[in-house]
């Protein structure tokens, strides 16, 4: 799940007037579940360049997962790849909130589904 949450918001103006400091979204009041999926190193290696490592690690730590080092290693060990797989694909926020640091908007998550609906006047341009 973090694979998609960490793909949200860096510069695009999703919500009206929300143009800066909007990445990553900050989780609060979370309920977590783990859903095991088969490992796929190839996918991870291809996704890695798109990832902002520091945002990933900080987000994981905010969810109580300390398995990844703050500084991105040049090559990941097998154990680090396992940890990355777990954090990106197996860890799910079932309930909780995601808050945008930029504009303060709260996107609630229920049943593992983030609600990204905006009021009409909030839609970005």
């Amino acid at each position: 799940m973090l694979v998609s949450i960490l793909s949200l918001f860096s510069s695009p103006q999703f919500r009206e007037n929300c143009t800066s400091n909007n990445f990553p979204l900050v989780f609060s009041e979370v309920e977590l579940v783990v859903r095991p999926v088969p490992e796929n190193q190839e996918f991870l290696k291809r996704f890695l360049p798109k990832l902002e490592w520091r945002a990933l690690v900080e987000t994981a730590r905010s969810l109580g997962n300390e398995s990844l080092p703050l500084i991105q290693p040049e090559t990941l060990t097998d154990d680090q790849l396992k940890a990355l797989h777990h954090v990106l694909l197996e860890l799910h926020v079932e309930q909780g909130n995601m808050t945008c640091k930029g504009c303060g908007h709260v996107y609630p998550i229920s049943n593992g589904i983030p609600n990204m609906l905006l009021a009409e006047h909030e839609v970005g341009r």
């Binding site: 860096s10 695009p12 999703f14 796929n40 190839e42 589904i113 990204m116 609906l117 970005g124």
Partner: protein, 282 residues
């Protein structure tokens, strides 16, 4: 008969009842998966790589399921809570789901996705459901933010049901203005029944694929041939989630195993009846 998009807004039309009826209808299942197969073919993804894809208007995951089977990871968007929470979750689809109105645009980091599919959805954007909705504005917002969310080069393939040439024109024009290349692909243009329209959009310079030719009868056979070819191609892929062509039974056993690992309750025990075809009863 009126078109669903003219009856009520999508999140109302696809309420709990309709979402269930839609998803359990075997004729709909068959058509949606056929069109999804074709859309995946038109995406022309690199063969040996698991991709990160967007399923726009994913509904209950009929289309997403085929992305799972092809070994891809996907994110599904839909505006109907019933489709997502009542049906897609119940069916344990693998993609990450978001409740989102695609007419409001996406907020993904530039270049996130390797491609996008959308099956039977785009026509919904042509209806103004409230007085503040302007279809051209929503289309523009949608295509612009989609374009930025896709990597270069990549494709987005939409199967859709336009109700007029004007609609097709409006859609292709907004897509072009948003920076997309590509265009319309019509399969079986001369067959009333089998005719299907795909909008095949491209990021970066690429050639537009050709539609399938012929009448339905011919096309069926053709379809079967394409199908075996496609399956052969898929078998070659390595390193993905589910690579080999599996029998129905193997697939069911794998799913059951997955559910057990996840500690799901009530997974039926395996028996000689597991994944047997049920006889149709009248």
């Amino acid at each position: 008969m009126s078109r669903p998009e003219e009856i009520s807004p999508p999140e109302i039309f696809y309420g709990d009842d309709e979402a269930r009826k839609y998803t359990s209808n075997s004729r709909i299942q068959a058509i949606q998966s056929q069109m999804t197969e074709r859309a995946i073919e038109l995406l022309a993804l690199p063969e040996d790589q698991p991709a990160f894809l967007l399923d726009i208007g994913c509904g209950s995951g009929l289309s997403g399921e085929l992305l799972d089977e092809a070994g891809h990871y996907w994110v599904g968007m839909d505006i109907s809570p019933s489709m997502l929470a009542e049906v897609a979750l119940e069916r344990e689809v693998e993609g990450d789901l978001f409740l989102q109105d695609i007419g409001q645009g996406f907020g993904f980091r530039p270049g996130t996705f390797d491609g996008a599919i959308s099956i039977s959805v785009l026509q919904w954007l042509l209806n103004a459901d409230t007085s503040s909705h302007s279809p051209p504005q929503r289309l523009t917002r949608f295509f612009t933010t989609l374009h930025s969310a896709l990597r270069n080069p990549s494709r987005a393939v939409f199967q859709f049901y336009p109700s007029s040439d004007d609609q097709v024109h409006l859609i292709t024009q907004s897509a072009q203005r948003a920076g997309f290349g590509g265009g319309i692909v019509v399969d079986y243009p001369n067959s009333k029944k089998a005719r299907k329209m795909y909008l095949c959009l491209m990021v970066g310079h690429q050639e537009v694929p050709r539609g399938l030719e012929g009448e339905e009868e011919v096309s069926r056979r053709e379809g079967v041939r394409n199908e075996t070819r496609r399956k052969k191609e898929r078998n070659k892929i390595v390193g993905g989630k589910k690579r080999k062509e599996e029998s129905g039974k193997e697939w069911v056993m794998k799913k059951k195993e997955l559910y057990r690992i996840r500690g799901k309750e009530g997974v039926p025990r395996d028996s000689k009846y597991t994944a047997r075809k049920r006889r149709v009863q009248f």
